[in-house]
Subunit: 205 residues, 2 copies
Protein backbone atom coordinates (compact mmCIF):
# COMPACT_ATOMS: atom_id res chain seq x y z
CA UNK A 1 0.00 0.00 0.00
CA UNK A 2 1.29 3.48 -0.87
CA UNK A 3 0.98 6.17 1.82
CA UNK A 4 1.72 9.81 1.15
CA UNK A 5 2.38 10.35 4.87
CA UNK A 6 4.81 8.58 7.18
CA UNK A 7 2.62 9.52 10.17
CA UNK A 8 -0.30 7.63 8.64
CA UNK A 9 1.90 4.72 7.59
CA UNK A 10 3.25 4.26 11.13
CA UNK A 11 -0.22 4.42 12.64
CA UNK A 12 -1.52 1.85 10.13
CA UNK A 13 1.41 -0.45 10.91
CA UNK A 14 0.77 -0.21 14.65
CA UNK A 15 -2.92 -1.05 14.26
CA UNK A 16 -2.08 -3.92 11.88
CA UNK A 17 0.01 -5.54 14.65
CA UNK A 18 -3.20 -6.19 16.62
CA UNK A 19 -4.80 -9.63 16.19
CA UNK A 20 -7.42 -9.89 13.46
CA UNK A 21 -6.65 -6.45 12.01
CA UNK A 22 -5.17 -6.32 8.51
CA UNK A 23 -3.77 -3.34 6.64
CA UNK A 24 -7.12 -2.34 5.12
CA UNK A 25 -8.97 -2.37 8.44
CA UNK A 26 -6.03 -0.59 10.07
CA UNK A 27 -6.28 2.17 7.45
CA UNK A 28 -10.01 2.50 8.09
CA UNK A 29 -9.37 2.89 11.82
CA UNK A 30 -6.61 5.44 11.23
CA UNK A 31 -8.81 7.51 8.89
CA UNK A 32 -11.52 7.36 11.56
CA UNK A 33 -9.11 8.67 14.21
CA UNK A 34 -8.05 11.37 11.76
CA UNK A 35 -11.62 12.67 11.65
CA UNK A 36 -11.84 12.85 15.45
CA UNK A 37 -10.94 15.77 17.63
CA UNK A 38 -7.26 16.00 18.71
CA UNK A 39 -8.28 15.65 22.38
CA UNK A 40 -10.25 12.51 21.74
CA UNK A 41 -7.33 10.82 20.02
CA UNK A 42 -5.07 12.03 22.82
CA UNK A 43 -7.43 10.38 25.30
CA UNK A 44 -7.52 7.13 23.29
CA UNK A 45 -3.75 7.10 23.28
CA UNK A 46 -3.36 7.89 26.99
CA UNK A 47 -5.91 5.31 28.12
CA UNK A 48 -3.98 2.56 26.30
CA UNK A 49 -0.58 3.56 27.69
CA UNK A 50 -1.94 4.04 31.21
CA UNK A 51 -3.73 0.69 31.13
CA UNK A 52 -0.52 -1.17 30.29
CA UNK A 53 1.64 0.81 32.71
CA UNK A 54 -0.57 0.70 35.78
CA UNK A 55 -2.32 -2.64 35.48
CA UNK A 56 -1.60 -5.00 38.37
CA UNK A 57 -2.22 -8.67 38.86
CA UNK A 58 -4.00 -9.72 42.05
CA UNK A 59 -1.50 -11.20 44.50
CA UNK A 60 -4.01 -13.88 45.48
CA UNK A 61 -5.74 -15.02 42.28
CA UNK A 62 -3.60 -13.46 39.48
CA UNK A 63 -6.64 -11.75 37.97
CA UNK A 64 -6.11 -8.27 36.48
CA UNK A 65 -6.66 -5.57 39.03
CA UNK A 66 -6.19 -1.87 39.72
CA UNK A 67 -4.95 -2.66 43.25
CA UNK A 68 -2.71 -5.32 44.80
CA UNK A 69 -5.80 -7.40 45.64
CA UNK A 70 -8.55 -7.58 43.01
CA UNK A 71 -12.12 -6.48 43.68
CA UNK A 72 -13.33 -10.10 43.75
CA UNK A 73 -10.77 -11.34 46.30
CA UNK A 74 -11.27 -8.13 48.30
CA UNK A 75 -15.07 -8.40 48.40
CA UNK A 76 -16.59 -9.32 51.78
CA UNK A 77 -19.63 -10.95 50.18
CA UNK A 78 -17.72 -13.58 48.15
CA UNK A 79 -17.14 -17.05 49.58
CA UNK A 80 -13.38 -17.47 49.98
CA UNK A 81 -13.67 -21.23 50.54
CA UNK A 82 -14.74 -22.00 46.97
CA UNK A 83 -12.03 -21.40 44.35
CA UNK A 84 -12.74 -21.58 40.62
CA UNK A 85 -9.60 -22.44 38.63
CA UNK A 86 -9.58 -20.88 35.15
CA UNK A 87 -7.12 -20.56 32.27
CA UNK A 88 -7.22 -16.82 31.68
CA UNK A 89 -8.61 -13.45 32.67
CA UNK A 90 -11.16 -13.76 29.88
CA UNK A 91 -12.66 -16.83 31.55
CA UNK A 92 -13.04 -14.88 34.80
CA UNK A 93 -15.02 -12.24 32.89
CA UNK A 94 -17.16 -14.89 31.15
CA UNK A 95 -18.07 -16.55 34.47
CA UNK A 96 -18.63 -13.18 36.19
CA UNK A 97 -21.05 -12.27 33.42
CA UNK A 98 -23.26 -15.25 34.30
CA UNK A 99 -23.67 -13.81 37.84
CA UNK A 100 -24.04 -17.41 39.06
CA UNK A 101 -20.75 -17.84 40.90
CA UNK A 102 -20.12 -16.29 44.28
CA UNK A 103 -16.72 -17.76 45.17
CA UNK A 104 -13.25 -16.57 44.20
CA UNK A 105 -10.94 -17.41 41.29
CA UNK A 106 -7.47 -18.65 40.56
CA UNK A 107 -6.10 -17.69 37.12
CA UNK A 108 -3.52 -20.23 35.89
CA UNK A 109 -2.30 -17.98 33.08
CA UNK A 110 -2.56 -20.83 30.55
CA UNK A 111 -2.91 -24.62 30.48
CA UNK A 112 -0.33 -27.38 30.25
CA UNK A 113 0.52 -27.79 26.57
CA UNK A 114 3.78 -29.58 25.73
CA UNK A 115 3.34 -28.72 22.00
CA UNK A 116 3.45 -25.00 22.83
CA UNK A 117 6.23 -25.59 25.37
CA UNK A 118 4.02 -24.69 28.32
CA UNK A 119 4.75 -26.85 31.35
CA UNK A 120 3.40 -26.65 34.93
CA UNK A 121 6.27 -24.35 35.96
CA UNK A 122 5.10 -21.54 33.67
CA UNK A 123 1.64 -21.55 35.24
CA UNK A 124 0.37 -20.22 38.57
CA UNK A 125 0.13 -23.73 40.06
CA UNK A 126 2.51 -23.32 42.97
CA UNK A 127 0.49 -20.40 44.34
CA UNK A 128 -2.71 -22.48 44.04
CA UNK A 129 -1.19 -25.27 46.17
CA UNK A 130 -0.07 -22.62 48.66
CA UNK A 131 -3.59 -21.22 48.88
CA UNK A 132 -4.95 -24.70 49.59
CA UNK A 133 -2.29 -25.20 52.27
CA UNK A 134 -2.78 -21.88 53.99
CA UNK A 135 -6.48 -21.09 53.61
CA UNK A 136 -9.53 -23.07 54.59
CA UNK A 137 -10.55 -23.93 51.05
CA UNK A 138 -13.35 -26.49 50.82
CA UNK A 139 -13.89 -26.85 47.09
CA UNK A 140 -11.89 -26.27 43.93
CA UNK A 141 -13.89 -26.04 40.70
CA UNK A 142 -11.85 -26.82 37.60
CA UNK A 143 -13.36 -24.54 34.93
CA UNK A 144 -11.00 -25.43 32.09
CA UNK A 145 -11.82 -26.03 28.43
CA UNK A 146 -12.72 -29.66 27.64
CA UNK A 147 -9.65 -30.24 25.45
CA UNK A 148 -6.74 -32.65 25.83
CA UNK A 149 -4.66 -29.82 27.33
CA UNK A 150 -7.48 -28.88 29.70
CA UNK A 151 -7.94 -32.46 30.86
CA UNK A 152 -4.16 -32.89 31.28
CA UNK A 153 -4.08 -29.78 33.46
CA UNK A 154 -7.01 -31.00 35.56
CA UNK A 155 -5.25 -34.37 36.00
CA UNK A 156 -1.98 -32.70 37.00
CA UNK A 157 -3.67 -30.36 39.48
CA UNK A 158 -5.73 -33.13 41.05
CA UNK A 159 -2.53 -35.14 41.68
CA UNK A 160 -0.85 -32.09 43.21
CA UNK A 161 -3.82 -31.50 45.52
CA UNK A 162 -4.70 -35.08 46.42
CA UNK A 163 -3.06 -34.89 49.88
CA UNK A 164 -5.18 -31.95 50.99
CA UNK A 165 -8.73 -32.19 52.35
CA UNK A 166 -10.31 -30.31 49.48
CA UNK A 167 -13.18 -31.38 47.24
CA UNK A 168 -12.31 -31.11 43.54
CA UNK A 169 -15.07 -30.69 40.97
CA UNK A 170 -15.21 -29.81 37.27
CA UNK A 171 -17.81 -27.77 35.45
CA UNK A 172 -20.43 -29.95 33.76
CA UNK A 173 -19.79 -31.16 30.23
CA UNK A 174 -22.88 -31.74 28.15
CA UNK A 175 -25.03 -30.53 25.30
CA UNK A 176 -25.11 -26.74 25.22
CA UNK A 177 -28.44 -24.91 25.45
CA UNK A 178 -29.89 -24.58 21.96
CA UNK A 179 -27.48 -27.26 20.72
CA UNK A 180 -28.88 -30.05 18.57
CA UNK A 181 -28.29 -33.61 19.70
CA UNK A 182 -27.45 -34.97 16.26
CA UNK A 183 -24.65 -32.43 15.75
CA UNK A 184 -23.02 -33.02 19.15
CA UNK A 185 -19.74 -34.93 19.04
CA UNK A 186 -19.69 -38.51 20.38
CA UNK A 187 -17.54 -37.67 23.40
CA UNK A 188 -19.86 -34.92 24.61
CA UNK A 189 -22.96 -37.03 23.98
CA UNK A 190 -21.45 -40.03 25.76
CA UNK A 191 -20.46 -37.92 28.77
CA UNK A 192 -23.84 -36.22 28.89
CA UNK A 193 -25.49 -39.66 29.14
CA UNK A 194 -23.12 -41.06 31.76
CA UNK A 195 -23.44 -37.86 33.80
CA UNK A 196 -27.23 -37.70 33.44
CA UNK A 197 -29.09 -35.54 35.94
CA UNK A 198 -32.23 -36.22 37.95
CA UNK A 199 -35.20 -34.37 36.47
CA UNK A 200 -35.58 -32.16 39.54
CA UNK A 201 -32.22 -30.45 38.94
CA UNK A 202 -33.23 -29.85 35.31
CA UNK A 203 -36.57 -28.27 36.14
CA UNK A 204 -34.91 -26.15 38.79
CA UNK A 205 -32.94 -24.20 36.15
CA UNK B 1 -19.86 -6.92 30.58
CA UNK B 2 -18.31 -7.01 34.09
CA UNK B 3 -14.70 -5.83 34.41
CA UNK B 4 -12.72 -6.19 37.60
CA UNK B 5 -10.47 -3.31 36.53
CA UNK B 6 -11.39 0.26 35.59
CA UNK B 7 -8.16 0.53 33.54
CA UNK B 8 -9.27 -2.40 31.38
CA UNK B 9 -12.83 -1.12 31.17
CA UNK B 10 -11.70 2.30 29.93
CA UNK B 11 -9.39 0.76 27.35
CA UNK B 12 -12.17 -1.54 26.09
CA UNK B 13 -14.54 1.42 25.83
CA UNK B 14 -12.00 3.43 23.83
CA UNK B 15 -11.41 0.58 21.37
CA UNK B 16 -15.16 -0.02 21.07
CA UNK B 17 -15.58 3.57 19.82
CA UNK B 18 -13.72 2.63 16.62
CA UNK B 19 -15.87 1.63 13.62
CA UNK B 20 -16.57 -2.09 13.29
CA UNK B 21 -15.17 -2.93 16.72
CA UNK B 22 -17.62 -4.21 19.33
CA UNK B 23 -17.05 -4.83 23.02
CA UNK B 24 -15.89 -8.43 22.55
CA UNK B 25 -13.32 -7.56 19.89
CA UNK B 26 -12.24 -4.55 21.96
CA UNK B 27 -11.61 -6.85 24.93
CA UNK B 28 -9.57 -9.19 22.74
CA UNK B 29 -7.42 -6.27 21.56
CA UNK B 30 -6.96 -4.99 25.12
CA UNK B 31 -5.92 -8.43 26.39
CA UNK B 32 -3.48 -8.60 23.48
CA UNK B 33 -1.95 -5.24 24.44
CA UNK B 34 -1.78 -6.46 28.04
CA UNK B 35 0.51 -9.31 26.95
CA UNK B 36 2.84 -6.94 25.09
CA UNK B 37 5.87 -5.21 26.50
CA UNK B 38 5.21 -1.84 28.22
CA UNK B 39 7.41 -0.08 25.64
CA UNK B 40 5.51 -1.54 22.72
CA UNK B 41 2.18 -0.33 24.08
CA UNK B 42 3.80 3.04 24.80
CA UNK B 43 4.90 3.20 21.16
CA UNK B 44 1.42 2.22 19.93
CA UNK B 45 -0.05 4.97 22.02
CA UNK B 46 2.47 7.62 21.00
CA UNK B 47 2.19 6.86 17.28
CA UNK B 48 -1.59 7.42 17.40
CA UNK B 49 -1.38 10.69 19.32
CA UNK B 50 1.49 12.01 17.18
CA UNK B 51 -0.34 11.09 13.97
CA UNK B 52 -3.41 13.09 14.93
CA UNK B 53 -1.43 16.04 16.32
CA UNK B 54 1.07 16.51 13.52
CA UNK B 55 -0.88 15.46 10.44
CA UNK B 56 -1.28 18.24 7.88
CA UNK B 57 -3.45 18.62 4.85
CA UNK B 58 -1.76 19.62 1.60
CA UNK B 59 -2.46 23.30 0.86
CA UNK B 60 -2.92 22.47 -2.83
CA UNK B 61 -4.84 19.20 -3.04
CA UNK B 62 -6.09 18.67 0.57
CA UNK B 63 -4.50 15.22 0.70
CA UNK B 64 -2.99 14.14 4.04
CA UNK B 65 0.63 15.11 4.30
CA UNK B 66 3.54 15.41 6.72
CA UNK B 67 4.43 18.82 5.19
CA UNK B 68 2.49 21.85 3.94
CA UNK B 69 2.64 20.45 0.41
CA UNK B 70 2.10 16.69 -0.01
CA UNK B 71 4.65 14.41 -1.63
CA UNK B 72 2.50 14.05 -4.76
CA UNK B 73 2.04 17.80 -5.37
CA UNK B 74 5.70 18.35 -4.48
CA UNK B 75 7.05 15.72 -6.86
CA UNK B 76 8.85 17.03 -9.96
CA UNK B 77 7.93 13.94 -12.01
CA UNK B 78 4.13 14.31 -11.69
CA UNK B 79 2.16 16.15 -14.37
CA UNK B 80 0.62 19.20 -12.69
CA UNK B 81 -1.70 19.87 -15.65
CA UNK B 82 -3.84 16.76 -15.05
CA UNK B 83 -5.93 16.89 -11.88
CA UNK B 84 -7.86 13.87 -10.62
CA UNK B 85 -10.83 14.92 -8.43
CA UNK B 86 -11.64 12.37 -5.70
CA UNK B 87 -13.97 12.19 -2.72
CA UNK B 88 -11.51 11.20 0.00
CA UNK B 89 -7.95 10.43 0.98
CA UNK B 90 -8.75 6.74 0.69
CA UNK B 91 -9.48 7.17 -3.02
CA UNK B 92 -6.09 8.83 -3.50
CA UNK B 93 -4.45 5.78 -1.94
CA UNK B 94 -6.54 3.40 -4.06
CA UNK B 95 -5.55 5.19 -7.29
CA UNK B 96 -1.90 5.51 -6.20
CA UNK B 97 -1.84 1.75 -5.63
CA UNK B 98 -2.68 1.15 -9.30
CA UNK B 99 0.52 3.06 -10.26
CA UNK B 100 -1.28 4.10 -13.48
CA UNK B 101 -1.84 7.78 -12.78
CA UNK B 102 0.94 10.33 -13.02
CA UNK B 103 -0.98 13.57 -12.49
CA UNK B 104 -1.99 15.29 -9.26
CA UNK B 105 -5.14 15.09 -7.12
CA UNK B 106 -7.82 17.27 -5.63
CA UNK B 107 -9.56 15.83 -2.56
CA UNK B 108 -13.11 17.19 -2.19
CA UNK B 109 -13.51 15.87 1.35
CA UNK B 110 -16.92 14.36 0.53
CA UNK B 111 -19.59 14.53 -2.16
CA UNK B 112 -22.73 16.62 -2.46
CA UNK B 113 -25.43 14.80 -0.50
CA UNK B 114 -28.48 16.83 0.57
CA UNK B 115 -29.77 13.90 2.68
CA UNK B 116 -26.63 14.04 4.84
CA UNK B 117 -26.72 17.86 4.80
CA UNK B 118 -23.55 18.13 2.72
CA UNK B 119 -23.72 20.97 0.23
CA UNK B 120 -21.07 22.40 -2.11
CA UNK B 121 -19.90 24.87 0.56
CA UNK B 122 -18.66 22.12 2.88
CA UNK B 123 -16.46 20.66 0.14
CA UNK B 124 -13.12 21.81 -1.27
CA UNK B 125 -14.76 23.09 -4.46
CA UNK B 126 -13.77 26.74 -4.24
CA UNK B 127 -10.09 25.83 -4.08
CA UNK B 128 -10.52 23.58 -7.16
CA UNK B 129 -11.96 26.47 -9.17
CA UNK B 130 -9.06 28.63 -7.97
CA UNK B 131 -6.55 26.02 -9.11
CA UNK B 132 -8.18 25.98 -12.56
CA UNK B 133 -8.09 29.80 -12.69
CA UNK B 134 -4.48 30.18 -11.58
CA UNK B 135 -2.67 27.15 -12.95
CA UNK B 136 -2.38 25.85 -16.49
CA UNK B 137 -4.61 22.82 -15.92
CA UNK B 138 -5.52 20.97 -19.11
CA UNK B 139 -7.64 18.10 -17.89
CA UNK B 140 -9.78 17.33 -14.85
CA UNK B 141 -10.63 13.67 -14.29
CA UNK B 142 -13.71 13.14 -12.15
CA UNK B 143 -12.96 9.95 -10.20
CA UNK B 144 -16.13 9.87 -8.09
CA UNK B 145 -18.30 6.87 -7.20
CA UNK B 146 -21.06 6.16 -9.76
CA UNK B 147 -23.88 6.99 -7.36
CA UNK B 148 -26.58 9.67 -7.51
CA UNK B 149 -24.47 11.83 -5.16
CA UNK B 150 -21.36 11.27 -7.25
CA UNK B 151 -23.16 12.17 -10.48
CA UNK B 152 -24.70 15.25 -8.82
CA UNK B 153 -21.24 16.40 -7.74
CA UNK B 154 -19.82 15.84 -11.23
CA UNK B 155 -22.71 17.84 -12.71
CA UNK B 156 -22.21 20.68 -10.20
CA UNK B 157 -18.46 20.80 -10.78
CA UNK B 158 -18.82 20.74 -14.56
CA UNK B 159 -21.18 23.76 -14.40
CA UNK B 160 -18.73 25.61 -12.12
CA UNK B 161 -15.86 24.92 -14.51
CA UNK B 162 -17.63 25.39 -17.85
CA UNK B 163 -16.21 28.89 -18.46
CA UNK B 164 -12.60 27.73 -18.23
CA UNK B 165 -10.64 26.13 -21.06
CA UNK B 166 -10.25 22.79 -19.31
CA UNK B 167 -11.16 19.33 -20.58
CA UNK B 168 -13.38 17.41 -18.14
CA UNK B 169 -13.41 13.61 -18.21
CA UNK B 170 -14.78 10.90 -15.92
CA UNK B 171 -13.31 7.51 -15.14
CA UNK B 172 -14.83 4.75 -17.29
CA UNK B 173 -17.94 2.98 -16.02
CA UNK B 174 -18.36 -0.59 -17.17
CA UNK B 175 -18.19 -4.24 -16.23
CA UNK B 176 -15.45 -4.83 -13.67
CA UNK B 177 -12.68 -7.29 -14.41
CA UNK B 178 -13.80 -10.75 -13.31
CA UNK B 179 -17.39 -9.51 -13.20
CA UNK B 180 -20.08 -11.63 -14.83
CA UNK B 181 -22.25 -10.02 -17.46
CA UNK B 182 -25.52 -11.57 -16.27
CA UNK B 183 -25.05 -10.19 -12.74
CA UNK B 184 -24.24 -6.64 -13.84
CA UNK B 185 -26.98 -4.10 -13.22
CA UNK B 186 -28.86 -2.71 -16.23
CA UNK B 187 -27.43 0.80 -15.90
CA UNK B 188 -23.82 -0.40 -15.93
CA UNK B 189 -24.47 -2.83 -18.78
CA UNK B 190 -26.28 -0.16 -20.81
CA UNK B 191 -23.47 2.36 -20.26
CA UNK B 192 -20.81 -0.21 -21.09
CA UNK B 193 -22.51 -0.82 -24.44
CA UNK B 194 -23.05 2.84 -25.31
CA UNK B 195 -19.43 3.62 -24.31
CA UNK B 196 -18.01 0.61 -26.13
CA UNK B 197 -14.31 0.71 -26.92
CA UNK B 198 -12.41 -0.10 -30.10
CA UNK B 199 -10.69 -3.49 -29.82
CA UNK B 200 -7.23 -1.91 -29.98
CA UNK B 201 -7.67 -0.14 -26.66
CA UNK B 202 -8.82 -3.41 -25.09
CA UNK B 203 -5.86 -5.43 -26.35
CA UNK B 204 -3.51 -2.68 -25.19
CA UNK B 205 -4.36 -3.37 -21.54
Amino acid sequence: MVFSSALIENAVNEFAKLPGIGKKTALRLVLHLLKQDVNQVQQFSEVMARMRQHIKFCKLCHNVSDEDICSICGSVTRHKNIVCVVESIRDVMAIENTQQFNGVYHVLGGIISPIDGIGPDQLNIHSLVERVQQQAIEEIIMALSPTIEGDTTIYYLSKKLKDYPVKITTIARGIAFGGELEYADEMTLARSISNRLPLESYVQR
